[in-house]
Structures are given as C-alpha cells and as structure tokens.
Amino acid sequence: MTIEELEQIAKNVKQANEKYDYELNVCMDLACASQGADKLKVALEKAAESCGKKVCVRRTGCMGPCSHGPLVRVDPEETLYRRVNEGHAEAIVKSLGGEPVPELKCELDAHFDKQVRVVLENAGHIDPEKIEDYIARDGYKALLTVLTEMTPNGVIHRITESGLRGRGGGGYPTGLKWGTVAKALGDQKYVVCNGDEGDPGAFMDRSVMEGDPHRVIEGMAIAAYAVGASKGFIYVRAEYPVAVSRLTTALREARRHGLLGNNICNTPFNFDVEIRLGAGAFVCGEETALIASIEGKRGTPKPRPPYPAASGLWGKPTLINNVETYANIAPIVRNGGQWFHDMGSERSKGTKVFALTGKIANTGLVEVPMGIKLREIIEEIGGGVPDGHTFKAVQTGGPSGGCIPAEMLDVGVSYDALLKMGSIMGSGGMIVMDDTSCMVNVARFFIEFCMTESCGKCIPCRAGTAQMYTLLTRICTGAGTMDDLELLEDLCSTVKEASLCGLGQTAPNPVLSTLKYFRQEYIEHIQHKRCPAGVCNMEAAVEVMA
C-alpha cells in the first residue's frame, strides 16, 4: 500500500457515494440497536429500493444523543431524526428532497453547538466494518505520511508539542511516555492498547472501538513506529463482544490492505496486532495488572518502578495507552501538534469524550474542548436534570473519582481542576445525580465495588475497603456513630497512602469527596437516623431506639 493507492481508494469511495443523491445514516450502536435499529435499517433499505430515488442506507457508529435513539441522519441535509422505528421508514424516504418529517425531527442545536469532534469525527459517518469508508475520510494517511516522511523522533516531537495527555485517567504526558519507551534498550518492544473500560458508567472506549476501530489501529501503528515496536496487543473487555468482532474485522481488513504486517508501505517497518480478551476484573485497567493478564496470569499489579516503559510485557519495554489516547494520534499527526495545542485549557489540551449518564435529559456521548465549564456540559449540552428534580452532584472518574456539588459547576474541566476538587478526570464517565440520590449510599456503592474488585495482593486495599464498607453500611442503616465517621476518615487516608496500585490509592475518593461536600448528609444519617433523599432503609435505627 502506497499513498497513491490510498488516495485511489478514497477517490473510488467518493465517486461511489456521488452516485447517490441522499444518504440515510442509521446509528447501530448498542443503545440504538437495543431499540430495533437493525429492523429499522432493513425497512429503510426496502423503502429506498422501491422509491425511485438514489438513496444509500448506511450503518454507522454512535451519533451521540443516545437517549433520543434510534437515530437516523439524512445527508447531505444533515437532518437528524429521533425515536425512529421501522414504521417511519416509508415517510422518511418519501420526504427526501422535500420538507423533513416534522414529528421525528430532532432539535438539539444546544447539544451539538458546544461540541468539538476530534476523536468522534467519524462516528455517525462511516460504516465501522468498511476500511474504505475510513480511508475516504483521510484514514491511514497519517500512518503512511509518518512512515515515508518522518523520523520516529519527529513523531514523538509532534506528539509532545501537541500537549496530549493520557486519556485513561492519570493524564501522564503521552509524548514523554513515548520518548521513554523509545529510549529504552531492547530488541523487542511492545505497544499495548488498554481497552479494559472497567469504570461502570463509562462507554466512550466501547463506542470508539465499535464505531471507528481503524482509528485505534492507526494510532497504535504510529506509536509502534515512534517507539520501535513490532508487535501490539489490544486488551478488550469480554463484556464487549461487538467491539471484539469489529476489531477482529478491522485487523483482518488492515492486513489485507497491507497496512499491517511486514514492510508496510515498502518500508522496513513491520507491525501486527493481536486481540486479548479481558475476563472481568476492574484492576486489569492498571497497567502492570493488565500486563499480567495478557501474559495469561491473574491480574495482580506489581510495584513500580520498574515501569512498563522499561520492563513490561515479558520483561520487554512496553508502551501502554488508552483507546482514546490512540484515537487522538492520527488527527494530531495530520493537522500538526500546534493545532491540537490550540484547543483546550492551559495544561490540558485538546478535547475529551464524556459519557453523560444518570439523571440528565440528553444521555449519551459528548466530546468537548478541555476547559469547558461543567455547567455548560450539564445544563446546555446535557439539557439539565429532567422531571422537575434539582441537580445535586456529578460524579466523574468512576470508582476512583469523586462527586462534585452544584456550587463547583463553574469550574472548567481539566485534569488539574478535577484533581483539586477531590475527583479525577478518569476515563470520562460523568454521572449526574439529582435530589433523589443519597450521597452516603453512592459512596457505599463505590466502596462495595472497590472491595469486590480489590485483587487482594496488598493489605491496605484488601482489608481497608472491606472495613470502610462495613462502616458505611452501619451509617446507611442508621447504626452509625460519630466515632465511625472519624474512623472512616482515618481509614481513607491509610488506604490512600499505603495501597500498592491505583485502585487502592483512589478507592477512598468517593468517600472523601462526599464527606467534603455533603458532610451534613452523613451527620443526618448518624444523629437523626434520617436519610434526606429517602434512599436508605433505616431498619437498624428502629432497633437501636427501641
């Protein structure tokens, strides 16, 4: 495959698309598919065949506002239809060229206006199983440019210049990480993609892997060239069967087109990727645990250093990045580091994809520039809290993150700002809670999660989370005392300071942040045996009083 051949493929696809007057893009991501998007696509195809117009019906990845699904977008007009079912197929096809169907029109200007799409630029526009669709939208151009025109150091320099930081949660500068692996000595190096999206309530990585798998592969290949690796692994959760099958197809297609394998683009660069299935362990998102899991062992973390950049998979230098980080690479290479650097806030550059869920009107995937205010995400893009309830808190970062209260909503989203508020960026889950959610109960939910997910290797995490869970359960059932609260805070700092890996070190965050902002709720539970949100069942309190 050469650049000329690549451009020829892109040209062919564009010519083929020009034959059609209209394109019907049907979102087939999990949320829409669970509401009958597959039947809808068949109905649209049938209606399109018999209508006499030149219509192309295409399956695409997630378009974003999942709560309005199943979604259909008509191009070139860019009319978005919501809650479409197979019965509407005839009406939609009939309306092509005239006025859009009024009752199905999705008016979400406020939702889309503030978004900037870099990672999700192809979502909703390409068929994820067709490599040609990806190539037609400048896919693999970055890889071939890198291989023929840039040195590995040049690539690393460009990534460093962009200011991209790891999107898995920690926010380690990507350029720095690549530089370390590139400098490490070793005949064999590995590139690993962390697709073990264990954070419950987040699904950005799933959407990227399912909706635009080639983007991840291209990012990995560029990384491999930059650090001098010839072998890659994508570690995906077994709970995401569609992502696994889409990636398998994408890898096969990429090999067929000579974009993976030996002597890619007639250069000495060899690279291939294998998929490894996770088996349901949250701790495997931690890089040393993930390495153990790829090696076929129990996913328990190791003390660092040595960092995987020096000694990772089978003791070789290994680069590990998150799915979203790799998805950012190709656009950075294409558009230059400065382009990326110009987006975002002072120390957090570019955009971030968030999975907006919970008690909010427009649930789904959003991609926003860093530095945007939380209030803009929740009230404008998300459409606010529905059903007349009031906003209480937003939870970011999953079990390692914290709850941010209403009075902090005017803070801009960045790695440092979230850390300062006692939460973390995390992989990008954003769960909105209203006045019907009890913060003590939420803290207990996360601690229970960390307790069952603790691998058991180090004592602070194994025993600490279990004790914290017991204390929180006592408070939630009305049996708690003020001494319990003190003990809980004490335990939080022990677990935070003394645990071996990220799971334990961040496990107390949900408790600490709710204690910081919603302490009164804990005190209500303890002193007045009352749950202000009416969630906790205070059965134990009755016994104590009697």
């Binding site: 999990l30 987040a202 349901g280 949250f282 869920t357 889950g429």
Partner: protein, 165 residues
C-alpha cells in the same frame, strides 16, 4: 529434550476440538491460558474440573495457577448456567436509576440470590459490572439481548414469559 506432546482430548465431544484449536493457534504457549479458558466457557457454558485439568496439562501450567486464574476473573463460571439467563446491569448509571430494586424484585420472584440458578435449572440471575449501555439505564440482558429503560413490571413479565414456555 523430549518434544512435548499434548494430552489426549478428555472425550469424543467435538467441542474439545474447538478448545484444542485455540491452543494450537497460540502454539500451546502458557500465555494462552485465558484465551483457552474463554473458548472452553463459550463452548461449554462453564468450566468444570475436567476442563481446567485438561487445559492446564495441555499448556503445561500448574493446576493451581489455572484454578487461580479461573477464580480470579468474574467472567469465568464454575457452575453450569440455567436454560435462560437474566443479567441485570449494576453499573453506576444503572444503580442511580434503580438497578438495586430490579435485582431485589428478580430475587424475590425467582426465590434465588444473584449469581444463582433456579433449582429446576431454568433461569440464572446474574449481575454485570456495566455492559456499556449506560445511556439507556437501567439495563437488563435477557439471554444476552440488551433491553434498556427496564422496570420491574417489564422484567417480571419477561421472566414469566420464560416460565410459560
């Protein structure tokens, strides 16, 4: 050094050939343990002692390590699943929207706890740590099919539908 010969298949069952295929594809390498166990679980529905022993011997992995891996990861099951499986997602978004009530209702209806199978082997009740359909929370999976915006009535209706068949 004598060349390694893999042990014979445990029985005539054709599914063992699929399992063997996975191991052969990976060159009987030790790191293929999790991959192979995935194949066993997808072929047989669960992992029994024979399967774990066979895989451990074929890959030259100590039995203790194989058993350790099986019990470490939630995805692997040591008990056969029921004819039907209902999985309620217990991720954060689903929990906020009342997944705990769904689980309680299902437990009451089926008279079993989560993670168990009814005594007649008809229905297994499972919970998941997030299936990634958070925008449609709360979510339940009926035999693998994702259904969003679930409520107790719909769920119990589906369970009764299974019982009637």
């Amino acid at each position: 050094m004598q060349a390694f010969t893999p042990p014979p298949l445990p029985s005539e069952d054709k599914r063992w050939k699929i399992v063997n295929g996975t191991m052969r594809k990976n060159g009987y390498a030790r790191h293929a343990l999790i991959e192979t166990l995935h194949t066993v679980q997808s072929s047989f529905g669960y992992l029994d002692d024979d399967a774990i022993r066979f895989v451990a011997r074929s890959l030259r992995v100590p039995l203790s390590q194989a058993y350790g891996v099986v019990t470490f990861y939630h995805y692997f099951s040591l008990r056969p699943p029921g004819k039907h499986t209902v999985t309620v997602c217990a991720g954060t978004a689903c929990y906020i929207k009342g997944a705990d009530k769904l689980i309680a209702a299902a437990e009451k209806h089926l008279c079993i706890k989560q993670g168990q199978t009814t005594p007649d082997g008809q229905v297994s009740l499972m919970t998941a740590r997030c299936v990634g359909a958070c925008s449609r929370a709360p979510v339940a999976l009926f035999d693998g099919e994702v259904v969003g915006e679930m409520n107790c009535e719909n769920m119990l209706g589906q369970l009764e539908g299974w019982a009637a068949k």
